[in-house]
């Protein structure tokens, strides 16, 4: 059993569990949306003193911060106890495309060329992570949600705005993948 759990899980297990988590949070009287935590953290750090957008009672969002803490613990449990240490099994076509950009085939979960500490603290690696993260934070709040709030919760509730946001996610993702990455790497 443990051996089976240690292998990568098929996509449908993940889809089923994500939908289950969405429903679970609804039954807890909350809604599934992860990026709100970024706003809550800003507010908890006192950003409400300078910017009105962060001036709200962040304590009402502690439940979501607990979910965030759980997500970190879940990652730890997976890495420590549920992993067989195998590389991510991505398609051969992706491996070849990435090799042309100078990114070697997967050795673990993340590429060494970006996530190893030596890469992350080179100027290029540092800027990739910092600016990428910046766009995620800025864009998620501008669009009013991220993958969980729009692509999962919003589309499940047949919200046209969420579909527009997801189209935006793909426009941005395709620009990075096909225009920016060949220039950066």
């Amino acid at each position: 059993m443990l051996e089976l759990l240690r292998q990568p899980w098929p996509w449908y297990t993940s889809g089923i569990v994500i939908a289950f988590i969405m429903v679970l949070l609804l039954f807890f009287g909350k809604s599934f949306g992860f990026s709100s935590n970024l706003r809550t953290i800003c507010s908890a750090c006192g950003a409400g003193k300078t910017v009105k957008f962060f001036d709200f009672d962040w304590r009402t969002q502690i439940w979501n911060l607990l979910f965030l803490v759980g997500a970190i613990i879940g990652g730890f449990i997976s890495a420590e106890f549920l992993s067989n240490g195998e590389a991510v099994q991505i398609s051969q076509a992706t491996i070849q495309d990435l090799q042309q950009l100078g990114i070697s085939s997967p050795d673990g979960m993340q590429p060494e060329e970006i996530f190893s500490l030596s890469a992350a603290f080179s100027l290029k690696g540092f800027l990739i992570l910092l600016l990428g993260g910046f766009a995620i934070g800025f864009g998620a709040r501008y669009a009013g949600g991220c993958t969980s709030g729009h692509a999962i919760s919003g589309i499940s509730n047949l919200q046209l705005p969420s579909l527009i946001a997801v189209i935006g996610f793909f426009i941005g993702g395709l620009i990075t993948t096909f225009v920016l990455m060949p220039l950066i790497f």
Binding site: K52, G70, Q89, I90, T177
Partner: protein
């Protein structure tokens, strides 16, 4: 200990995102290159089941565990806000290979470099808050 259920839900989320490799930069690249069904399968299954669940909750007017009606707040109507904000989000998603949830799951996975992306995400959120009234919505 009212909060423990949220921690448990989060743990389940962290485990399933890890084990289905949705926290991997490589998987996000593969998705944006349309070279495998994996990520589409994850999001697609979640959306199909989520839509069914949302429909049933509304149809049978189900209540949460405290007996309050489950309400779905409609998203505010706009196009520019979603298309511009969404595009900026997508630029970052493909670059770091992690949307906000997986960013934090990666901490548990000991990919410490992700803290740089989280610092960026918090600064981006702060700047949006500061510029909010001057942006088209």
């Amino acid at each position: 200990m009212k909060g423990i259920k949220f921690i448990i839900a989060g743990i389940l989320f962290g485990i399933v995102m890890s084990k289905s490799e949705a926290i991997s930069w490589f998987r996000i690249q593969e998705m944006f290159r349309f070279q495998d069904f994996h990520m589409y399968g994850i999001i697609g299954t979640a959306v199909v089941l989520g839509t069914l669940a949302t429909f049933l909750i509304k149809k049978f007017k189900l209540r949460d565990y405290q007996g309050n009606p489950i309400v779905f707040t409609p998203k505010e109507k706009s196009i520019p806000r979603y298309i511009i904000g969404g595009t900026i989000f997508g630029l970052g998603w493909a670059l770091t290979g992690a949307c906000p949830g997986p960013m934090f799951v990666n901490i548990g996975y000991s990919y410490w470099a992700i803290f740089i992306a989280i610092a960026g995400a918090l600064s981006g959120t702060y700047l949006y808050g500061a510029l909010k009234d001057r942006l088209p919505h």
